[in-house]
Symmetry: C2
Subunit: 384 residues, 2 copies
C-alpha cells in the first residue's frame, strides 16, 4: 500500500516566484510537514506540463535544490497535459509499490501568468491533437462540448453559471485559492462587458484561471508511514487514457472520465454513496457538469439535478470542489493533480479548515488531461 | 523481475515521418516482435524531450494510435532531457515490479531534423539551468568539459578523434544508423572546412547527430515473459540525478554517471570485467571519454588508454558503442535511451547482426540527461 504522509501547497495565483522557487517552496514544505529528512527521500517525481510556457524544459533535478541531501536522488518529470500532477503521483505509487522507494517526493508545478493570454492559449494548445485541432484553443474545444450538450439536452447556461458561482463561493474558504470573489449566479449566467463570451456558449466565468503555483506530497510505504504524524491511503487509484483526437471520441459520453471514476470507486469496494466529497477537474464549467454524469451522480443530461438537489454543494451528500476547483482555486496545470490529492487528503483527515466537509472519510480525486484523454481517479481515506 | 520481450526501432536519420508516425512504427513493431496482443498491454510509457521542437506537447496518448485495442490503456510521458527514453524504461520497470502491469509498452521518440540547427540548439538548450546557462548551447557546455579535461590532463584532441572515428566505423555495421560514413582519425582530429570547430576544442566530428527516430520495448513480468519467444532481464537498473546547475558540479568528476554505472555493476553482483559490451551516452566525444573513466575502465585522465589498448574497440574486452553511438547511429534525444536498451538486449541474445559482440552475456547501458544530471545505468543479460 502507498500512503500520503505530508504535503505542501503554495498559494495559487499571479506569483512573483519562478518555477524553481515554486518547486522548492512546495517540496520543502511537504518534507517538513511529513517529518521525513531530505536524505531519506528515495525518488522524486515532478509533474509539469510546460507546453513552451517556461524555458525550463528539464525540471526534474530542480527539485534537488530543496536540500543538499537530495543530491543523487533519482528524479523524473511526468507529463500528461493538465493531469501531469496526477501522473507524478501515480509514478510515485508505482515506485513505492515496486519496493524501489520507501519514500517519494511528488511536486506538481506550473508557471503561466507571466505570459499574455494568447501565449498561454498557444501553450495549452500543444495538448491538442495537432493534425486536426491545432487551430483550436481549449475554450473552443470545451465550447464544442457545451454546444453538443445544449443541442442534445437543452440550454444549460444557467446550470453552468450555478457551477461557477458554487466554486467561486467555495474558494472563499480556501486561503490558497487564486480568486476570493463570490460571484452571483446571474453575473455568471449572462454575458456582459465584465463577463464576455470567450467561445460561445462559454463566458469568462465558465473558464478556469490561468495561475502559477505548486503543490507537493510526501508518499511512503506502510512501514515508514506507520510512524508518520499523519497518513492517508489510496483505497483505489485508476488511470485511463483515451485517443487524443476528438474525432475518435464521443464528447458527451466522456468515456475515459467515466471509466476512471467508476472503476476507482468499484475497486475501492465502495459505491458513490460512500464518497463524502470530490475534487474534480472543472477546467470549464461544462466539464464539471459532465463529470457529475460520468461519476454516476446523474443520468446523461440530468447533471443539473445534482445542483438543484444540493448534492454537490457544501452540506450536500457529495460536495464537489470545496476548494473552489480549477475555476476559483486556480489551475497551474502541472500542479492541479497534486493539489487535488493534497486537498482530499486534508479533508479525510479533518484538516481542511473552513473547507472541511464534516465527517469526511472517503474522498474522490478526478484529474483530467485534455478533453477526457488522460484520466486519473483516486479514492483516499485515512490510513488509521 | 522485469524482462524485455520484444523491441522495435525505426531507422535514425532525417525521416519523412512525423512524431505520431514514428511512435506508431516503433511501438507497433515492438508489439509484433514480442507476440503480445495490443489488448494485453497494461501500461504505456512514452519517453520524449520535446523542448519546443515539435508542437505535440502531450504525446502519451498518441501511442494509442498503434491499435484500437490500446484504447483506455494508461499512458504517460516521461521526460529527463536526453535520458527521457530511459526514464520511460524505468517507469515501466516500476509499473511491472509494483504488480500494476504485467506488460508495458515503452516508446522513446524525437523529431528534430525539420528544424534549422539554431532552433535545435535552442530546443536542447531548454535542458540547461536557465538562470546561469541559458545562453550556452550543449556543444559549448561540453566544450567546457573538454577544455577542463585538456587543462588538467593535456591535449586530448587525438583521443576525441579516435572516439569519433571508432563510432563512425562501428555504425557501418548498423543498418539503422543515421550516418554510414567511415571517417579517418586524421579527418576527425584536424579542424578543416569540412570539419569546422563548433565550440573550441569540439569540432563537428565531436558532436552527435541531430536525428529523427523512435525505439520501443515490450517489457513484461516473469510469468508473461516465460512464454515469450525471447527474454532479456535487468540484472541491475540504477538512476542517479545530480544538481542541474553546472556551477554545483565538478565537470571532470562526472559523479552522477560514475555513481550510476558503478552502483549498477555492483548491484548486479558483477565487476567491470564481467561486462561484455556497453552502449553509452556519447553526445559528444568528450562525454564518451569521461564515461570510460566514470565506469572505472581507466583512472581519471587515463581514458585514452582504453582506446590505445583496444579495450573499447570491436574485438576488445569491452566494446563501447558497437551501434555507432549517438555520434553516428544518431541522437533523437527521447529515443536514445530506449534504443540503447534495444541494442544491448539484441547483443546479449546474440541477435545484433553485424554489430554482434561474440559471446556477449552481460551488457551495460548508460544514458544521460544534461551534462551528467539525469543518469541511468542498466545491466542486461539473457533471461534464460
Amino acid at each position: 500500500m502507498v500512503q500520503i504522509i505530508g504535503w505542501g501547497h503554495t498559494r495559487f495565483g499571479k506569483l512573483a516566484e519562478g518555477l524553481e522557487e515554486l518547486i522548492v517552496q512546495a517540496g520543502g514544505e511537504a518534507l517538513a510537514h511529513s517529518g521525513v529528512a531530505p536524505g531519506d527521500v528515495d525518488a522524486i517525481f515532478v509533474g509539469h506540463f510546460n507546453g513552451g510556457m517556461v524555458p525550463e524544459g528539464f525540471p526534474s533535478s530542480l527539485a534537488l535544490s530543496i536540500h543538499d541531501d537530495l543530491r543523487f536522488t533519482p528524479a523524473a518529470r511526468l507529463e500528461n497535459a493538465c493531469a501531469s500532477g496526477s501522473a507524478a503521483v501515480y509514478a510515485a505509487r508505482d515506485a513505492i509499490e515496486s519496493g524501489r522507494a520507501k519514500v517519494a517526493l511528488v511536486i506538481g508545478v506550473e508557471k503561466m501568468t507571466h505570459l499574455p493570454t494568447a501565449e498561454v492559449a498557444r501553450g495549452l494548445g500543444h495538448a491538442a491533437y495537432q493534425p486536426e485541432e491545432a487551430g483550436l484553443s481549449f475554450p473552443q474545444v470545451f465550447a464544442m462540448f457545451a454546444r453538443a450538450y445544449f443541442d442534445r439536452y437543452g440550454d444549460h447556461a444557467r446550470t453552468l453559471a450555478e457551477i461557477a458561482a458554487k466554486n467561486h463561493a467555495n474558494a472563499m474558504a480556501n486561503p490558497l485559492a487564486h480568486l476570493h470573489k463570490a460571484l452571483p449566479v446571474e453575473f455568471c449566467e449572462v454575458a456582459s462587458e465584465k463577463n464576455p463570451v470567450v467561445a460561445d456558449p462559454l463566458k469568462v466565468t465558465d473558464c478556469s484561471l490561468v495561475s502559477d503555483g505548486a503543490a507537493a506530497l510526501v508518499m511512503a510505504a506502510d512501514d515508514v508511514a506507520a510512524s508518520a504524524p499523519r497518513a492517508v491511503r489510496f483505497r483505489a487509484a485508476v488511470q485511463v487514457n483515451d485517443f487524443l483526437p476528438m474525432s475518435r471520441r464521443d464528447p458527451l459520453a466522456f468515456e475515459g472520465p467515466a471509466r476512471a471514476m467508476r472503476t476507482a470507486i468499484a475497486e475501492a469496494g465502495l459505491t458513490l454513496d460512500d464518497i463524502d466529497l470530490a475534487e474534480v477537474h472543472d477546467c470549464f464549467t461544462i466539464a464539471e457538469l459532465l463529470v457529475y454524469e460520468a461519476m454516476g451522480l446523474a443520468e446523461p443530461g440530468q447533471g443539473a439535478r445534482a445542483l438543484e438537489e444540493g448534492i454537490v454543494r457544501p452540506g450536500g451528500a457529495l460536495p464537489v470542489n470545496m476548494s473552489g476547483g480549477l475555476k476559483a482555486k486556480g489551475h497551474p496545470v502541472g500542479a492541479t493533480g497534486v493539489s487535488m490529492h493534497v486537498l482530499v487528503a486534508r479533508q479525510v483527515l479533518g484538516e481542511a479548515g473552513e473547507m472541511q466537509v464534516a465527517g469526511a472519510e472517503h474522498g474522490l480525486v478526478f484529474n483530467m488531461g485534455g478533453s477526457g484523454v488522460a484520466n486519473y481517479a483516486s479514492v483516499l481515506e485515512p490510513a488509521r
